[in-house]
Symmetry: C2
Subunit: 463 residues, 2 copies
């Protein structure tokens, strides 16, 4: 691959300039800022690289669907997003978030790591490969959405409209990832699902003087008690049947976990905590982090929150909860069980104001496509990458891949101090170059080992 790598080096300055131009264009989904401009900039870039590009409208940001044929009929799926997180708090940035700046071999800008860097690494890889070798060994179907940072709100509309493009692919190269705190390259094969909802309890029609608490219901107490009915101090989620659908990790998944070198001390120091939940460490900690479903209070707000004392009987209490789900926990089923449990425990008055959900998707480390990605990483990074069967976070992996049996691997250009979602987001230029080479190596794998029919990725038992 040295011929292609040499071409990458020769064009690196121009690749970085194009990335910087994209980083100069804000594209903040949460603020509806620069979305159309960014979609247009990216369409031009994709076309210049030789892709056929279609802009698929949704009720939110449009989804770009870029296609390129290869020598073989088989195709890879790429997934990225062109939106970024808001840049606040601006005063904590060393250089302005939308003025890309290189310092000490690092490129600083909002979106550098998450995930415009990855998009331009893939573009560069395709361009250099084709310049040196002609056609790609396999085709690429590239989905780039514009609402990832706000929960991929309308991506399902794209999927419904272009379902055929997502089926029968060799595998998907997902966004995100890079090197971990110990500089090991990391590949993740899926995401936890999520059920996010708001619980709401009501009392009197307005806040009352707290003297009335002797005889009038307090919705903050109702919510405290309802929450306690969901999870007690032992951390066990009390919704009947909640754990029944949980699949324990397979031997291959357990082996991948065992091989994963989770930086416990570094994480504890970063978070400022003495120990992890329940004193977990080692394999048990890693299994809980990646395979443990959660019930988390994201917010609880009721009554007076200012300085000092104010005697109030609040009229309302609101809690936001997220359940991180693992295969085969389906958000709709958890929601049903939650409502039934609240009713059974005497909390019919506690309302589920709204909810949203995504299904989980874990991957099989032994799958041939995953092994292909692992070999490519070994060639570029010089070591065996860590393989995470599932990420602790959530993304639309099930929606785009899991439901079609498509195996998925992440490929990113970040590192442990990339500060995604935070001020001074950055990537190292060396990681960007490695990221370009990694995509080339992955394509090259399909020349070295032509894709054989692979076993279908195990589907979840659908609800």
């Amino acid at each position: 691959m040295n011929d292609v790598f040499a071409d990458i080096d020769a064009h690196m300055e121009s690749y970085l300039d194009r990335l910087k131009r994209a980083l100069s264009q804000p594209s903040i989904a949460a603020e509806g800022r620069g979305i159309a401009e960014m979609a247009s900039l990216l369409t031009d870039e994709l076309r210049a690289a030789g892709f056929q590009v279609e802009t698929v409208p949704t009720d939110g940001a449009p989804v770009l669907l870029a296609q390129m044929d290869g020598r073989r009929s088989e195709r890879l799926l790429f997934y990225n997003h062109y939106d970024v997180q808001p840049a606040d708090p601006l005063e904590l940035w060393t250089s302005p978030p939308f003025e890309p700046t290189v310092r000490d071999g690092k490129l600083y800008a909002r979106g550098a790591s998450d995930n415009k860097g990855a998009i331009f690494a893939r573009l560069a890889a395709v361009e250099s490969y084709r310049r040196v070798r002609g056609d790609l060994p396999v085709g690429i179907t590239w989905v780039i959405e514009g609402e990832e940072e706000i929960g991929s709100l309308h991506l399902h509309q794209f999927v419904a409209a272009r379902e055929e493009a997502l089926k029968n692919v060799l595998g998907c190269v997902w966004e995100a990832g890079g090197r971990d705190a110990r500089e090991r390259y990391e590949i993740a094969l899926g995401c936890k699902g999520i059920l996010y909802l708001e619980l709401r309890a009501r009392g009197a029609v307005r806040d009352l003087h707290s003297a009335s608490a002797a005889i009038v219901v307090n919705p903050a107490w109702r919510l405290v008690w309802a929450l306690q009915a969901l999870k007690g101090p032992d951390g066990r989620i009390r919704i009947p049947g909640f754990y029944d659908a949980v699949r324990p990790p397979t031997p291959a998944q357990q082996a991948a976990l065992a091989d994963w070198d989770y930086p416990e001390e570094e994480v504890r120091a970063l978070y400022g905590i003495d120990s992890f939940l329940d004193g977990l460490t080692g394999m048990a900690l890693k299994e809980r982090l990646l395979f443990g479903p959660t019930c988390n209070i994201d917010g609880f707000h009721s009554g007076y929150g200012g300085p000092g004392s104010k005697t109030v009987l609040p009229a309302e209490a609101v809690a936001k909860l997220d359940f991180r789900l693992v295969p085969d926990q389906w958000p709709e089923r958890v929601l049903e069980a939650l409502r039934a449990h609240l009713d059974a425990e005497g909390f019919s008055d506690v309302e589920i104001a709204w909810w949203e959900g995504e299904a989980p998707s874990a991957g099989d480390p032994a799958h041939p496509f995953v092994q292909t990605a692992v070999r490519a990483a070994e060639r570029v990074y010089g070591h065996r990458p860590a393989v995470l069967p599932m990420m602790a976070g959530t993304g639309p992996v099930h929606l785009l891949c899991g439901q079609f049996g498509t195996p998925t691997v992440t490929a990113g250009v970040g590192y442990a101090d990339s500060r995604a979602h935070a001020p001074d987001e950055n990537i190292r230029l060396s990681d960007f170059a490695d990221g370009v080479r990694y995509i080339v190596a992955l394509l090259e794998e399909f020349v070295l080992r032509p894709p054989a029919p692979t076993p279908p990725f195990p589907l979840l038992s659908e609800p």
Copy 2:
């Protein structure tokens, strides 16, 4: 008394003008606005009425101590406050809060009911009485503080400095009160105590992505579980010994409760609730309201509270609680028991960030001073007043009266729709006139029935 009542009528316009002048002067303790100006205005008014006035400094607003001798050496204690609640939200006022306006026989202004109206009713009564009869029958010691609306924060400094002035009085005429929803005049003899505190739980040093909830402590959950350890869905407070110090109502207090016509339907309609806590009604409801201690969540705040979803593992959770206390529950003892209970239940990590407390003080409806007040009310209002042995709310009754064995009765000029602490606060001009006459009638009682040595008011068992 008709001679004095005629003098009141003849001077009513001037009395109301002086009240309006005082209502035009904002005096908002919470904002530190107009406090010195109001203290000065009131000092002038008190001196003009013939009082000796001393301005007793504290670390907060000064306390006015006004004295006037009577024909007998015995003295009455008056208690009022010259501060008012903030006027927000301004847009809900029909006329500006500090531009007193009469509409339909009602005087609208912040402080009209709570409690500048009562102050000026007392001033008017003293002036008319002395104009017609010469000296008062008994002396008056009048305490007017400027921080009642922020919890009488520095009143204890006044008490420590002028303790002698508060001792050996016939009884105290407290601020607040008036006619209830069924137009019955109401006299209250004391207040519940309070323990107000803030509970705080901490997790990581900063908010984390909620994916970390699988392995990092969530302080909102810690606080939910700690609160549940304090009070469960049955409403029973679980702190060991909490109820041990509670004195049940005496027969005289129960008789007063039985005679009190609590407007259940009106209150339910006003609050927009179908029923009271635990389905209480009748005597049980009244007893819970006036004699039941509480544990109330005034506020609970943690994590994300904006629109929609944000996946956050909060770094901190804070709850504000108030316990309304009844004799003989002492705030310091409840605090100690609370801390010990949290520790015993495994919540040593939940911190009591700060606290403040006031002791409870209930009165004896059979006390001669209370009977004197009842007779005066019968003469002015033409019916037997309701007597509430204790209010559901809290005030410094124990600090100024209870600890010295001084029996206490409220005397106010409000009515059910006076909207204290709310926009369009108002009093009816007819209630103001009755309030002036009531103070005259009370003074006259000591001419009709010269004060006999009265049994000391039962002191609480001090901690």
